[in-house]
Amino acid sequence: MTDPILTTKDLHKRFITGSGLVGASTTIHAVNGVSLSVNKGETFAIVGESGCGKSTLARLLLRLLDPTEGEVVYDGQDLTKLPAGEMRKLRSQMQFIFQDPFSSLNPRMTVEAIVGEPLLIHTKLNRKERREKVADLLRKVGLRPDYADRYPHEFSGGQRQRICVARALASGPKLLIGDEPVSALDVSVQAQIVNLLEDLKDDFGLTLIIIAHDLSVIRHMADRVAVMYLGEVVELATTEELFQSPRHPYTRALLTAIPVPMPGGRGPMAALGGDIPSPANPPSGCKFHTRCPHATDICKTTHPALDTAGAHQTACHHWQDLPAMGADAVATAPRSAATEARFALYREAASKAANQ
């Protein structure tokens, strides 16, 4: 499991907006020094709030955007330095699935043209062979091959996402990046697409990178997880470790925010005050210090580097001290008396029901 397919080194992406003749331009630091490595055959997840730069990072990984600094190494080649023609050829090996299946399919192309297009440009198959391959791919993603002549608007969201998956698989990729591939779908359809991706991953020997904000999807799919905050990776660990023993206070806050389908089943909510600061004007030191319940003076002045020594990497000055600081107790917002009373009633009723 230590055979990396994709590695990034100190990756930065800055967007400059509002630069006109008058008025100052603002620089948005969307991705700030991300170094990570994705191993062959694993499912790697990137999580974070909206606006934390995870979609930008996904686009940098495939060079759909050019990074401002840093490098992306795929299979020994630095993508950022590859000439455009070479890059286009290499794209057959890495594919992208978008969040919104309603805007990611060309409405003027038939399903056959959509799914067959990567074959047209990356292989030398003739028309008939392409048609057969398309039918084959449609079957693999759970669609009827006779849908090949229809247009995207004739399909539901889940079906469209299956078409997207079929198109992504057509060129025989080794790496598949999904930018929130299920978050635009109904929950029941989400499960189908998640299962489909997992099956296909085994069948085709894919490496998956999943961008998401839904932690339950990640817990189900991913082998390793990177947590992002304001363009930086703040914690990186195997899924099991991250969910069992999260280190970074931000990760802790995220995990306690997962809804549990039973009243009282969730522990008390960790209070994460305020909004995510603007990436145009990020806080000094540790970028999380404005919202962190454990922040001290050092957090305000010194930026904590991601400790890349072990398998479980954390960017926090205090993670080792957090349990001693009574992290969970401090992070807890007390429930109101009325809520407590309702929970007491609920537990009473639940225990009665259990005893019968």
Partner: protein, 291 residues
Amino acid sequence: MTAAVTLTADAAPAPRRNRTWGKLKKNKSAMVGGFVVVAFIIIALLAPILPIPDPTLTDWGKIRLAPSAEHWMGTDEIGRDILSRMVWGARASLMAGVISVLIAMAVGVPLGVIAGYFGGWTDQIIARATDALLAMPFLILAIALAAFLGPSLTNAMIAIGLSAVPIFIRLTRGQVLSVKTEDYVEGARAIGLGHTRIMSHYILPNVFPPILVQATLTIATAIIAEAALSFLGLGQQAPQPSWGSMLATARNFLSQAPWMALWPGAAIFMVVMGFNLLGDGLRDALDPKEN
């Protein structure tokens, strides 16, 4: 995969093309407009085989005759049959309308796509030039160009076409800017397509409906422009007929032979209205928001 099969079993709505036609069919004024346009096109196409006299045949014994059984629309100042000249003139007018718009689209649409797709300096140069041209009134520009190229129907069509180019650049560019942000365009890059294929297969088909509407409306404007140029002697050259030059001559005889002006005026009015109604109908039919 049983779940998938049940999922895909639901009925799909009718394809977009049929929906557009269905909506257009229900629009009465668009159908009237379409009918008028088609009727004029058929008449223009049939000109050589219709049992009408030569439009340039003069008869000094029959000048400025009022409409009669022999000459349905009367005769002009040198005894030519006006019906015949109207039919042959329809060819010049419709051809000028259609060909000049085709010229405008052939130049304007690619430039608009390139400007919108690539952005940056390319866009700045094309967009500024377009703005400069749009600052000049369409007809003035066409007259200036036609005068520069020399009087003939072909040159008039080129002049009108070039004058209409900025309209198409601006429309196309605006459409491209909105289509460009769609995920499927980024997706096309992600699978490794080159710029040419993205522009031809992803951008162009998706910006085309509003361009088609604009083209229909511009044909009407171009027909008026051709009439104006011919009226000024910069278009169709005598003795070949065109509605504009017929109007120009008729102006001298308005009190003695008003029918000479009536027919070409009415024909221009009807064709222009036909194209406008058709264009409006197309715009409504192609608008996905209206059902």
